[in-house]
């Protein structure tokens, strides 16, 4: 187990380097730069600025400088927000994204599992059809359709919740963004959970447990839950990605000031430093998350060797 973790972390280093190199190279060869203005800059000023940011060095030297700084926790300057370093911008927006993501994840996983189990227990009943059509709706309605609808209902017509902003993380400002993020995940997890649960409940050992006269709750908790979790864990990876992608939309729509907002505006403004920083952070998170998911597999099913 420990060996597995170490091996994975060891593989993670070249992976991250590879991602960094690709994104750095993409931005290097892309047309247009952060200092392209409507009026061309005097040659000498441009040369000075480029020297300051090491943009006059050969590509690999630039990359090397960037990586050495990165390892020391310095993500470099933001070319566009000149008063901030990328580290500062990320430090500002990271908590917002982390809170939003963690909240929507911790709502969607248990709720999705619960709804899926309920649907599976009442298979082919009206309740099951209702839950499954709701969850299908949840899967197909994209966050950017859902968010404006939620805002219209809850902010404009009912006036219960603010339509956007963050205000240092007040609960009322969090509800709508978290809801818009979580609904798709809830729906997806519920669908998978239902399928897995039905398959498990058809197994002979569940029939045996029933024949022994065990209660449904006991059978669920002791016998049926664990094997049904494997496909759900497999869903966690995609829903993590969905939360990350969704957060871009949510950040922009609600103006929460998370990392997604910085990423898109950074890419549009050619703020290479900012974009690189966020890409690498998301990549690190993805690698860590994949590792956790693999560990979860082994935890749930002891037959799986790492």
């Amino acid at each position: 187990m420990l060996l597995f973790i170490l091996r994975r972390l060891f593989v993670a280093i070249p992976t991250l380097l590879f991602i960094a190199l690709i994104s750095y190279w993409l931005m290097h060869i892309a047309p247009g730069g952060p200092f392209d203005m409507e009026r061309p800059m005097p040659e000498i000023v441009r040369a000075n600025i480029e020297a300051k940011f090491h943009l006059n060095e050969p590509f690999l030297v630039q990359f090397y400088i960037y990586i050495t700084n990165f390892v020391q926790g310095d993500l470099g300057p933001s070319f566009v927000y000149q008063d901030f370093s990328v580290t500062q911008l990320v430090a500002q927006s990271w908590p917002v994204s982390a809170i939003l993501g963690a909240l929507s994840f911790s709502i969607s996983v248990p709720l999705g599992m619960l709804l899926g189990t309920i649907a599976a227990l009442n298979r082919n009943s009206k309740l099951d059809y209702l839950l499954m059509s709701l969850s299908m709706t949840g899967v197909v309605v994209p966050a950017f359709v859902l968010a404006p609808i939620l805002v219209t209902i809850f902010s404009i017509h009912l006036g219960w919740l603010p339509a956007g902003g963050w205000e240092g993380g007040k609960v009322s400002y969090m509800i709508l963004p978290v809801l818009s993020l979580a609904i798709a995940s809830i729906a997806g997890i519920a669908r998978v959970m239902r399928g897995a649960m039905i398959e498990t409940l058809n197994q002979p050992y569940i029939r045996t447990a029933r024949a022994k006269g065990l209660s449904t709750a006991y059978i669920l908790a002791q016998h049926a839950l664990r094997p049904s979790l494997i496909p759900v864990v497999a869903m966690l990876g995609p829903s993590f990605v969905a939360v990350i992608t969704g957060s871009v939309i949510i950040d922009i729509f609600f103006g929460t000031g998370g990392m997604g907002q910085h990423f898109v505006s950074g890419a549009l403004n050619r703020d290479y430093g900012l974009v690189m920083g966020i890409t690498l952070i998301v990549a690190t998170l993805t690698i860590l998350f994949n590792l956790i998911v693999d560990l979860l597999y082994a935890l749930i099913d002891p037959r799986i060797r790492l």
């Binding site: 991602i19 994104s23 993409l26 950017f144 359709v145 992608t245 871009v248 966020i278 993805t286």
Partner: protein, 310 residues
């Protein structure tokens, strides 16, 4: 009595019947089709989707406006004059610029569905080739190719796509290719797994023993057997791509005006939700219905083709 039983006619009937039922066995695809036909949700989705596609193809002929035309008469007050009505010819109303929403929904739908299919096509081609080579050749090459997939798995692709599109301009073909290029990993894994288990089956061995070349074995025996599961995968990918294109367009990174896609229309409509609900309602209705259909068809295909069921 006995004679009557062995009457020629009866005998012929019996023989014919048994020939019809036993000898003409069902192929994998026939069996799958029979199962698929029984799935009401999936069949209805096929009909609805065909109807939508027909709309997208022939719809623009039903209106005098194109997706670029601006109706200057409406422009004075698009929220009053631009309401959906049969008399004005704007069946779905107009947007803020007085452009006919019916024509735009049709044009946007063509693009959205095209992105879905093209993305799935690119992903299927790359994934199948990669997976079947990896599974068929095996050994060191296999583990190398699988390591590559493992590394690529940790790349935050949505971010990479956004990066690509912002840096290299919003060319629609670029979007097809990039979306396809980043989503073949799952298909490659599945194809490799199936190929790996097929490789040692008797019919492949038989083909080897009569001297069929490797390429021919892959083309004639491996790929047709993998096709079912790839189709399931691809049909479930299409809605994802449609959403993703909409997502890019929502961020302003997708198609460029005057062209449009469902995502662009929806993101524009979301801003005027309170005064002009039709601007959000019609494109959303089309998008969500299409996504529903693809999901049901994908589920139906999976139930019909899933090897676990056989």
């Amino acid at each position: 009595m006995l004679k009557k039983i062995f009457d020629d006619k009866v005998l012929a009937n019996v023989v014919n019947n048994s020939l019809a039922t036993d000898v003409q066995g069902r192929s994998l695809w026939q069996a799958a089709w029979l199962r698929f036909k029984k799935n009401r949700a999936a069949m209805n989705s096929v009909y609805i989707l065909s109807f939508i596609v027909l709309c997208l193809v022939f719809g623009p002929m039903l209106t005098p406006f194109t997706h670029e035309d601006i109706d200057w008469a409406v422009l004075a007050d698009p929220y009053e004059l631009g309401k959906p009505s049969i008399e004005s010819g704007h069946y779905f109303g107009t947007d803020d610029l007085g452009q006919d929403l019916f024509a735009r929904t049709m044009q946007g739908g063509r693009l959205s569905i095209l992105v879905g299919f093209m993305g799935a096509f690119v992903a299927v081609v790359i994934g199948s080739v990669w997976g079947s080579i990896s599974g068929f050749v095996g050994g060191a090459l296999d583990s190398l190719m699988m390591r590559v997939i493992e590394v690529l798995d940790s790349v935050p692709f949505m971010f990479m796509v956004i990066l690509f599109v912002t840096l290299f301009g919003n060319n629609i073909y670029l979007i097809f290719i990039v979306i396809g290029m980043v989503s073949w990993l799952g298909i490659a894994r599945v194809v490799r797994g199936v190929t790996f288990s097929l490789k040692n089956r008797e019919f492949i061995e038989a083909a080897h023993s009569i001297g069929v070349s490797h390429w021919k074995i892959v083309l004639r025996h491996i790929i047709p057997n993998v096709l079912g599961i790839v189709m399931v995968y691809a049909s479930l990918m299409v809605p994802g791509f449609i959403i993703f294109e909409s997502f890019l367009s929502f961020l302003g990174l997708g198609v460029q005006p005057p062209d449009t896609s469902w995502g662009v229309l929806i993101s524009a409509g979301a801003k005027t939700l309170d005064v002009a609900i039709w601007q959000l309602a019609f494109p959303s209705l089309f998008l969500v219905t299409t996504l529903f259909c693809f999901n049901f068809i994908g589920d139906g295909l999976r139930d019909a083709l899933d090897p676990k069921d056989r």
